[in-house]
């Protein structure tokens, strides 16, 4: 596998990345880092630093240097090469008009191109 677009985050061994889940069923979201010598200490510090006011039901901590990330230069990899509108429901207006307004309304719009 070509790994030139894969990078390791530069961080000291005592840096832990913190992920916070605000409510059950929400995703865990990266909120910042803490300095800690082990996972338990990292969770304790994360609780004090990131969960002292706003809602939180769960925290994850992970050593920052264990994270693998796409490199910054790889951003173009995610840019669409072709028109991606066919992947969105909003691109299919014609059938929505038929459904909502009846066949006559849709025909009057004369939108046959999509």
């Amino acid at each position: 596998m070509d790994e030139s677009w894969v990078q390791t985050l530069q961080a000291a061994p005592d840096i832990w990345a913190v992920f916070l889940q605000a409510r059950r069923r929400d995703a865990h979201v990266y909120v910042g880092d803490v300095h800690a010598s082990d996972a338990e200490m990292a969770l304790l510090l994360a609780k004090e630093n990131y969960a002292r006011r706003d809602p939180c039901v769960s925290l994850w901590v992970v050593p920052a240097r264990d994270i693998r990330a796409t490199s910054g230069d790889a951003a173009e990899m995610f840019a669409p090469v072709t028109d991606k509108s066919y992947r969105f429901g909003g691109s299919y207006r014609q059938q929505q008009r038929v459904y909502r307004g009846g066949y006559q309304t849709a025909a009057a719009d004369g939108d046959e191109t999509r």
Binding site: Q10, G32, D33, H35, S37, E40, N49, R52
Partner: protein
């Protein structure tokens, strides 16, 4: 400061970087940066982190003396927020290349700078109201503007900081209201605190910027978003009406609103005082640094123990 002056950058990469920033893009930690950018961003964020830590001290003095339990709890929460901001900011400064220990040592040894307002005493409970409303309000102007700065990790942390600062200002306004609606002695105490804090707060935003290549670069790189004078005017527009609303007196007889220019004119403060205070020459600089130093030494064993701690294997 101990960061080495930057070496010249590859002109081609620098040009690409400038185009990217000019297009509104933000830079993530670990991406290529011009040496000068790294130097300036690091210095800016370290100074901000220092100020959060030192800023907790004047208010901390009032936690044991807060007039009610509700005020004590709220003030404790605010001080905890400020120290938390320091922690977040040192971490961001670290991503620009200096370990936290080094920056912290520089602060407690008096070799680093922090904001002018934290070199002054907090003599009465009314000072706490002034700090929460005006000092946090002033900081909010600068930090609010910098949320659109070009260094993404700083910008993210500033969003959270501004969110918490808003609580501080609201709390301060409530303490302010209680005193302003209180006895004549309480009103006099509030006016006295306002009088003493006025000049340091006008100083807070710095001298009006000189038109210089340095300022131009800082603005172009969005490490500065608004000029010092713009921020000061923004602050006066928001906070002068609050002073007047409670029937207090603005301590500057020269202050007036100029409708045609849409700005406040104020008496030019003594800028030499700002320079002196900024070099840790303020009335409380030595005492507060000594306090930080003594705690830093006393707690050395805690840092030591934590760094050696190894959990029992599961």
């Amino acid at each position: 400061m101990a960061v080495n002056p930057p070496v010249p950058d590859d002109p081609e990469r620098l040009a690409q970087f400038n185009v990217r920033i000019a297009g509104g893009d933000q830079i993530e930690a670990g991406e290529w940066l011009p040496g000068q950018y790294r130097f300036e961003a690091q210095r800016l964020i370290q100074m901000h982190a220092n100020s959060e830590i030192m800023g907790a001290l004047p208010e901390r003095e009032w936690i044991p003396r807060a007039p009610t339990l509700a005020r004590k709890m709220a003030l404790t929460a605010k001080v905890q927020d400020e120290v938390g901001h320091g922690m977040l900011l040192y971490r961001v400064a670290e991503t620009l290349g200096r370990p936290r220990e080094e920056m912290y040592a520089e602060l407690v040894e008096g070799r680093a700078r922090f904001h002018n307002v934290f070199h002054y005493p907090a003599e009465t409970w009314a000072d706490v109201a002034i700090i929460q409303v005006f000092v946090d309000g002033a900081a909010m102007q600068t930090q609010g503007a910098l949320r659109s700065c070009s260094y993404a990790p700083y910008s993210r942390v500033l969003k959270r900081i501004c969110y918490e600062e808003d609580f501080h200002i609201q709390l301060g306004l409530d303490v302010w209201r209680a005193l302003a609606e209180g006895t004549p002695a309480q009103r006099a105490m509030l006016q006295d605190a306002l009088n003493r804090w006025w000049t340091p707060i006008i100083h807070f935003f710095g001298m009006p910027d000189k038109v210089s290549p340095h300022t131009e670069t800082m603005l172009a790189w969005r490490l500065k978003v608004k000029s010092n004078e713009e921020l000061r005017q923004q602050f006066l527009r928001r906070f002068v009406p609050i002073i007047l609303e409670y029937g207090l007196i603005v301590p500057d007889p020269g202050l007036r609103w100029v409708e045609a220019e849409q700005r406040y004119v104020y008496t030019e403060p003594d800028w030499e005082e700002l320079k002196r205070v900024g070099r840790n020459g303020g009335p409380k600089s030595a005492e507060r640094l000594a306090l930080r130093q003594s705690f830093y030494r006393q707690h050395a064993w805690v840092r030591e123990a934590l760094s050696r701690w190894t959990p029992i294997a599961a």
